[in-house]
Symmetry: C2
Subunit: 282 residues, 2 copies
């Protein structure tokens, strides 16, 4: 039975009761429109904790484009049912007024990690993400918080924030869940037209092609050309970036002499898709 809780006081109470019973707390922060990617987070949280809290909050301060914020899918009722099926104990779904009762003046900034890649085209995005996750960690005080590897830069930013600011919480990274054709699950996928949906798996194919070149010993410039060959079959794609970066610092590398991420953001009309693939040197 998943309890829907809309207030900070309410979720703190639920957590305090669980603590009194000696339970550990797992937090799965989401923006709703739950899919199997979230499902993997919720399942792992369920396996590892006595109390599972999912949060559902479409966080205004991490959107740099108001149309993206407005178009973000909102499906509370089906999300609640989804949480129910996965045996989450609490769905914390606060209003914007509950999370931001006054003008927010305090922000968490993570330098360097939040600046390139998605940060370059989305100024303030990772500041908004870090700030709302700091708030959620302070509200729920979980033992573990679960994030997906699909949002690799977010994961790097939040992992660093938790370490740098000494949050008493372990960041658990969960592997990307993909559709049968390879497309990474994302709440934004529902905004693709049928035709775009058919093209979308080429994003993952481009990552695979790049990774294959890197594994064959090619340098990054040559490997990126392989991605280009895959994506240019569809003129509808607009590549925002496709980079090979150090898996930890997210700084660009010239060859795969350490664990790397092949990471990309691609537009299909008004929908922005992100994906990445980790690749380790032999």
């Amino acid at each position: 039975m998943t309890t829907l809780v809309e207030t900070i006081a309410g979720v703190r109470q639920a957590v305090a009761r669980a603590r009194q019973r000696g339970l550990t707390i797992g937090l799965v922060p989401t923006m709703g429109a739950l899919h199997e990617g979230h499902g993997a987070l919720l399942r792992q949280a369920r396996d590892e904790n006595g109390l599972v809290v999912a949060s559902l909050f479409v966080n205004p301060i991490q959107f740099n484009r108001s149309d993206d914020f407005e178009k973000y899918p909102r499906t509370l009722q089906t999300d609640l049912e989804y949480c129910q099926r996965l045996h989450a104990d609490v769905l914390f779904a606060p209003s914007a007024g509950e999370m931001y009762p006054a003008q927010q003046l305090s922000f968490v900034e993570v330098a360097e990690l939040g600046e390139g890649l998605c940060g370059a085209s989305r100024p303030g995005h990772f500041r908004g993400v870090a700030t709302v996750v700091a708030k959620l960690l302070n509200i729920v005080q979980p033992d573990r918080a679960y994030f997906g590897e699909k949002d690799a830069q977010q994961l790097a930013v939040l992992t660093r924030m938790v370490a740098d600011l000494n949050f008493a919480c372990t960041v658990v990274r969960v592997a990307t869940v993909r559709e049968a054709d390879g497309l990474a699950m994302s709440s934004r996928n529902v905004r693709l037209t049928a035709k775009e949906r058919q093209m979308a798996p080429a994003v993952y194919e481009a990552l695979l092609a790049t990774a294959a070149e890197l594994r064959a010993g090619r340098d990054v410039e040559s490997a990126k050309r392989a991605a280009g060959l895959v994506l240019e079959k569809f003129p509808e794609f607009r590549v925002e970036y496709l980079e090979v970066v150090d898996a930890e610092t997210l700084r660009p590398v010239e060859r795969m002499d350490r664990p790397v991420l092949v990471i990309t953001a691609v537009w299909l009309e008004s929908v922005r898709l992100i994906d990445n693939l980790r690749c380790d040197p032999r």
Copy 2:
């Protein structure tokens, strides 16, 4: 008996044991060189909590001038004895390497409140203060954290940070403790020469003179002239600022139509003294 603890793991263990016994936790963050001002914080924390943790950390990232950091008094042994006399349970005195094991990339910024007054001449100061206090709050997870009103801007910044980021902690403000002649207690007072020490109470007198004018219905410009008359008796003073500001937002006001702070920073040679006085309209 005050236990000296130098590691984060050690202080977390002491706090966890206290929590298991059902005790509440009070945190008194300090930079050491303890005086009666800190004494007032420690006494109130002792009255209100089951476990009192004092922290002693001269935080490098809040000093914008390295000479000020280097000259900051360091007196661990007498500080430990002082904590002992005031029945603090734990003195948490970590090394810089314990608090900053890697380059700090994550910072807490509090907009507006940290920008004027002391923030104007000390860029990055309040960012450093907010960041280290966020770390200490996450390490100790106290029910209450104690700060002195002498550092009024710091108190405003931290109160806002705790609210904005939903720290599960109450900020307790404690009144400024003064020497018999009115000088606000400060760890930097020991750096005054005998002659400067004799002049220093004029800072407080200037605040009193300003407040008297405001209470008599004079506007801020006239009231500030009264402060000028007090301070200009000593050409050794260099006034960095003397302002009348809204007690909550710290924005300058033109007349006392709400609770205000008369707030100042004054240099005596190489020593910077700050002080403030709250003043309420009738």
